[in-house]
Amino acid sequence: MALRNFLTRNLLLNKCPLRISQRLSHFTFVPDTVSASEGETQRMNLFQAINNSLDLALSSDPTAIIFGEDVAFGGVFRCTVGLQEKHGKSRVFNTPLCEQGIAGFGIGAATAGATAIAEIQFADYILPAFDQICNEAAKYRYRSGGLYDCGSLTIRAPCSAVGHGALYHSQSPEAFFAHCPGLKVVVPRGPIKAKGLLLSCIRDKNPCLFFEPKILYRSAVEQVPVKEYTMPLSKADILVEGDDITLVGWGTQVHVLREVCQLAKDQLNVSCELIDLVTILPWDKETIAQVGNLNIMAFLSFSLLQKKFLKWETLAI
């Protein structure tokens, strides 16, 4: 109890005796590694890994199409570079400036049999498409009694803070969609995860939202396996083992939390467990339910409290 009080009052950044010399927006990207059994790897950053994943999707699925604003020349973040040249103008094409239209168009194409991969140029602009995503895409299978679905729809969008984006180029809207049954919401932390997760989303039989932390596009570099591979959705990753407290995050924050774990260990002698949630919806209940001492996000807390109310000291933030 004393430990919990100490942590909750002092671990949190500004009241803490920890000396944090960097600015709060700084973080160090920590690359994942893969074992040698994964085969040949290539140095790729996040947008190259996503580009690779999209290329594999288009090569393996003749019904796959990619569309969005400015995707033809490669996209404002270069995620779709070379794809139009390789796969043709009928499969990789630009749309006009109309997010609601792009989402609705994608739902229609997916319902009729295409593997539709839509790009929303910045996650901040996904809000006009909110109705289409939550009311049309998410509920299609349910309301038609299983007769129709738009499961082959994937919507990708760059998200999160980049330092100079301010109101409309920095938003992290995953929480808005996290309460919408019927959707899957995924946020990768690096290139290796992104390539596998994106391919999984594209092939998943449910409409998926794939939010890519834009600050990682260039700064996140890993040795990514060149082969085609997928990664399981709804599976959280335990990145750092620990006993005293658990930190749960996703996307860019995973790397910030890694630093926090290290600082806590060095300066407070506290052992932190770090979990990357990876899939926000549906989230990995098994992995999270097993943790002991949890510092948890609000929307997770109610259902977990239902399961294990008496066992924890939880702090909903």
Partner: protein
Amino acid sequence: MFSVTLRCLGRQVHQQNKSLAPLFTYSKNGLNTEATFDTKPFKLHKLEEGPATTVTLSRQDALKYYKDMQMIRRMETAAGNLYKEKIIRGFCHLYSGQEACCVGMRASMRSYDAVITAYRAHGWTYIMGVDAVGVLAELTGRSTGCARGKGGSMHMYVKNFYGGNGIVGAQQPLGAGIALALKYQGTDGVCLTLYGDGAANQGQLYEAMNMAQLWKLPVIFICENNGYGMGTSVDRASASTAYYTRGDYVPGIWVDGMDVLAVREATRFAIDHCATGKGPMVMEVVTYRYSGHSMSDPGTSYRSRDEIQEVRQTRDPITGFRERMLSTDLATADELKDIDQNVRQVIDDAVKRAKSDKEIGLDELTADIMSNPIDTRVRGVTAFDTLTHKRIGPAVNS
């Protein structure tokens, strides 16, 4: 002796100008007090008659428009330089090349008309009454900026100017709403709602146009068509590039946006239409931007440098206007040079202020979030970190 007599005579005449105006049209400098020009013909949609193509320009107005356009051009150049020096961060969309649009429209607006536009808003902010310091200091985030530095490039405001909006097309229904309010207020005020050629494909524009036509709202939907939506040319984005007809049942006018007089005339016509209760109107002003979409875009990957040069040399709004003034003796070259010098001085001083003025304090981080919060505690970075909400000054629209 004779020349002195003539000069005295001229001065006397000038003072009694009303009765003797038909005889002497020269002011004492040997310059004209007004001149007449022809504009390019307007194209009309669902209108029997349009704005006049023969316009009269007074010397006083000419000097004002010239100065305003030069101020905007210089201010935007200064903003571009400040951005390159990394003193302005974030996003910065420049209006260079499009000056005739805002100057021409403002010339026909009454003091109680409203304007709302998208993110290419610096020129509009200036013409609606914020001085160069207010604009540049806002860009550099200082307290002397028009929004105390909190808004930045895309969020500049002043009375009757509703911004400055970042999301493409989001301002279109807002414009219809402002027009409704103006109608209810009983003035014959009109709302000028501006958007670009890219935003012309947003669904909400057609929702707003429908409401405006249905309820006869005094709103002018103005498409500032500069040929490119970011990097996409109009032909590759729009099934119909005749933006002035896209209102379908809403009457429309096509205007040469590089001619400040044509813009002024068309706006006068449109305001008259809306202010007399005939409902909305669409205006397409065809213009051009010299810089890229924003400072992150060089602007040359989707169009040739030759194209940009060609517009600069043949259709530049300021050069064209200057030639008109000089060829009809509305002003002398020296006068215009003086204006240029003055503009340069004002902008240089404004840049100095924008670099040196203070920023607001951190206490403003949690200011003006809500109107009357029951609980003035605002959560900080952590659950135990509370900041205090405060309200700063009355709103412009309160």
